[in-house]
Symmetry: D2
Subunit: 382 residues, 4 copies
């Protein structure tokens, strides 16, 4: 079987989820190729070596350019902080490598435009790791909507709630904390959490037309862990917006790291003419479904346990009733990408789709700054 | 409109629920008669008078025989402790009064037999206040089963969990505590809580054939609040049994006052060939329903919110989405009785049905004592 | 005991909830006065008489001015459509009557200002029936916040979702449908549903500083049931807004009648520095509570069953574990008003508090029309 | 690092969960040794080879004796049907191999006794794969009980509900269906499902003293897929029992494959003097906890989301809020065994502990047959 040699950049949280995804995809899916964990790249050589040993990478490097230049690498997978995405992706595409990039694509649409241009010019398979599309319950929601089960959509509402930065003692930036450093991350919860909700929303409900947003930084200055200085905080701690989709539906979106009691509560609900759907990440193996066409006295929200063989992806795993978890969404995405790439294609969401999400996050930040409604940029289809 | 003059015995918890039921039934139902709270009877004259003033009774007495002997009373409603049920009911029936009796009917089947004989001989409308049949969700369950929606029944499981007697400081007997005094109550949770679960179960699933039970008294002696003496506790604190119904289904039943965290968690679940139903008293306005005939990928437990006009009794109350509470079950039962009684009939559960529940609780206590399976007495239909 | 003679205007849904509230308050609370259902007023004499018979009113009239002019009436309770509130309330206040008014106070703040002026000039006890404050779970939330349990508040989110007007066949206006007629109602879900969420929010979290809103009318024209003509729909079917409270917290609010699967799903959640609270009307007897000060491994959302005697109002009802329903919130409010009024005081929310809610709904509608942030009017304390 | 060469017998459902467990344990845990998937054994050579390729086994054999005889194998892992457990385990132990065995240990206690004797005589590390002990929520329950948080235990209730054999068309025995063949499985749900609930129960709550059971075979005869003949069904479709633990607590247990709507609903609840715990497999990443020592008005069941780093095993996985799934329980167990084995020890549950569960299932089947209470065999500690 043809091998696909993978060079991964980044050994943090996402380096682990991606590495695991490639390994597990080959065990649980029938792939047309064999993914090989070839090289891991990270700045600290010792840690890179340890990571390579743990995950079975054949080698470790400290400069990603080595991987881009290497003939042994077929696929560059970017799992490093946001400020590195564009540089690596563009170089990789130019070198003719397939490129997978952790979300968000760039720190803003301008960066992402360069990345899209690079992969489209090079014609290389590409994908952004918006993993929540591959939660089986979310994929099922997509099927139901595409089948027309919901009818005309009236409402969409999503939120992504966390509570891990409430303490004022938490430094900004540094090891494990780059998401708090605006220069590295690009923005706060807007790019980190809202981006997920926007990607899913546009996948399920089509393009967003316009937004009215507000953001807030509750703790205005924090010590930076690298410089040791107390500096103004550049990121948004909370971000929320109203939206109108092009299909006429209304929406509310909200993300925050100040919602005490929630660790990663990503939820969405869609209300259509005939049926409604709700989901949340804290019980990701469930989908709630209401169908008005059910017999009147027996209408109710169905709490679907998405573990049957006929549910998306679930024939790959165990038996009915036995749930999967968070990392499986990455496994599904790795498998889908490897299958598409073997046929020379990209997998969804492509870099171009990732750019469309950045268009919305840019509009959100602009709206919040201007205190006005802002239209989302309308792009030509690729 | 014809008046029905009511004489109520007992002003405790059940005196209040019954009095409220008669008052509210006339406001929310179209009754063929007007219930009149004529006389309240209780041993303490001052309290009886205060209760009469509060609830609008026209008079108060301290001896129920006065009500039985009075021509002004059409209906005797028994809301006093268990040891008084038989005496009052039999006398009332002999006097030609309609009789409603709080559950359980008697302290045991022998007492209940006398009560059944009395009302059947007298031909007076009668009813036992097993109020949970009239929770709209439970009534809907009955309709679904009777419609054959569940198909053949395989399993029934019920429990009634409380935690209010865990403290060893609680006295047995006395004001508000007669349920802990075996002489007054007849038994512990078996007659108090299991009786409810048995009444519902036989209504929904038919007669019980045999039982294997165990009971326990966790705290072996308590001070009696009337005598002040520490005495052996005669009641069962917990009671559980396996059962076979005559229709071949299997069952588990359990009741206890030692289930920390539960105040009145009466739950049941029924599993049939095609569908299943589950309900619990802590969210009494909901019914959970699973239908295997639903499309495969969309099968799931539906959490029905029983507040629509097409749900049993709910056209009498508010608008969809607005829930009712505990006391409404008594209102429904009062209304059903008054409607039936106006036509000279009893309402379900009749005294005879109440006796059948006592047959099961007797079998449970016998089984627990003998440590063996015990058949439930099989009676001729009335 | 002193009697309070009540004249009620309106025999619809709210006429029933109010009438029941006065009757039940006297049974379940120790009131300093006796509420007497003296006169019901409604345009249709036959129905008014039937309603009087059902609920025990001593008389029925068809012109509310008779009640205002009558010396036998102490309290005017307004349960008629929104367009009648101001006229009745002002006349009643001028006549020295106590006034209770169904929400919203006026159809807009300008109407409400006149009503506030009238009751404050006359010095008569007054109250608006924002009943959800008296859900025991909501009252408990208020106690917890006022005790400082949540610490600094970061987020508030509320929604009120219904689905009863999705059909395009539904006429606007007419019997039972005045809420769809903008001339009668003043607005759509903004005044009907959002007003509830705003009243609760400001009670719990203080004044709202500014809003950015959007509204939508999904079905643009409907037949009017009175004229028979198809006419443009003047009400908003959906209304949503972002807000900043004066205390610095952020909020999202949404109301709609196009959320398939929800009948009356009013929900709110509050996230504070130390703790969070969530509640919803479909299970109104529960409150969800998360406390970060709990031991780490045992931190979790507590699903409180608000039926214990130490919970607000619950010592008036049954025993732990047994839930109350929707109409009890009106009973609590009636009791609180009668107790306050006996001391010559108003009960919360007063007309002035009702006006503050109208200030916000006015700002919402203005923001939606202007597509810009709008500050909420800042008023002097009374 | 020292290698542990593993020979696995069986490539079905359990062969996959075990193989995955060894692979993942090395990625997510810091192990003192390196597990090597050396040899897979299965009767069909083609399938064995395919399985070896998929999972990375170095070789495949069709006779487990080859592995027992091989010096290259350190550990025999038994994932084949129940009727093969004893033979393989005893031979493996005699050959000095470490032995891991899928549950139940033997088809009955007599078989298990031989297996225990073999491993104890040989002094080899051993373990039975009762995987649910290693659900982090269940492990946390164990910690809470051992810490004395619950106080004296009053009640234990467990059930394991499935619905996959309701159709009478399902054959008994054959590929993927050996659990329906009494000769292979030993019993029906008693050994398959109740055994899990018993293992957990005794781990959490100590030894069971006596049981009263009933079993049922709803479909009395089925076609055997190997012989093609319609034959009497030997297994129990449903099994339920009452129990008393040695610590005085009461229990109900139930397992069935006829509970429509449930795929693998294993639930348990424990009620103690001070606190209670509840868990279910359909949402395995949650634990419900009630603590009576909480402040009165804020007492409620906490729905713990077991994804924090301080929860058992969860520091090995992702970040707070992100759940794991079913197969992780096997990963935990593999890791625990490999760590223990490196120190020459067994991991819990050992074969001896597995035998104690078989003692209870034997007692259950005997009680059901005799229709009487049966004491559970009392054994000396090893």
């Amino acid at each position: 079987m043809k091998k696909v040699n993978i060079g991964t950049v980044g050994y943090g949280f996402m380096g682990r989820t991606h590495s695991n995804a490639f390994r597990q995809a080959a065990r649980f899916f029938d792939l047309p190729c064999e993914p090989v964990l070839k090289t891991i790249c990270a700045r600290n050589a010792d840690r890179a070596n340890a990571f390579a040993a743990k995950w079975g990478y054949q080698s470790a490097v400290t400069d990603w350019r080595e991987m881009v230049d290497s003939k042994d690498i077929d696929l560059i997978d970017i799992a490093s902080p946001n400020d590195t995405h564009a540089g690596i992706a563009i170089a990789a595409a130019k070198a003719g490598k397939m490129v997978m990039c952790e979300k968000p694509l760039g720190r803003n649409a301008r960066e992402s435009e360069g990345m899209v241009a690079a992969v489209e010019t090079a014609g290389v398979p590409n994908m952004v790791w918006y993993n929540y599309r591959r939660v089986p319950a979310v994929t099922l929601a997509k099927h139901l909507i595409d089948d027309g089960r919901l009818g005309k959509i009236f409402h969409y509402r999503a939120k992504f709630l966390q509570d891990w930065t409430i303490s004022s003692d938490l430094p900004q930036g540094g090891e494990g904390l780059w998401r708090l450093d605006v220069n590295v991350a690009g923005s706060g919860v807007t790019g980190d959490l809202l981006a997920h909700t926007i990607d899913t929303a546009m996948w399920l409900n089509g393009p967003i037309k316009e937004v009215s947003a507000a953001t807030e930084t509750f703790i205005k200055s924090r010590k930076h862990s690298l410089t040791g200085k107390v500096e103004p905080v550049g990121i948004d701690d909370a971000s929320m917006f109203l939206a109108r989709f092009r299909n006429g539906s209304l929406a509310t979106f909200e993300a925050t790291r100040y919602a005490r009691g929630h660790k990663a509560l990503y939820t969405f609900e869609i209300n259509g003419e005939h049926a409604s759907i709700a989901w949340d990440l804290h019980d990701l193996h469930r989908l709630e479904y209401f169908d008005h066409r059910d017999e009147g006295q027996l209408r109710g929200w169905r709490k679907l346990h998405i573990t049957d063989r006929e549910h998306p992806y679930m024939d790959k795993w165990w038996v009915p009733g036995l749930q999967i978890g968070y990392e499986h969404t990455f496994v599904h995405q790795a498998a889908d990408f490897l299958i598409a790439a073997a046929a020379g294609k990209s997998a969804s969401p492509t870099f171009r789709e990732g750019l469309l999400t950045d268009d919305v996050t840019d509009a959100v930040l602009e709206s919040a700054a201007k205190r006005s409604w802002v239209p989302v940029k309308k792009r030509e289809e690729a």
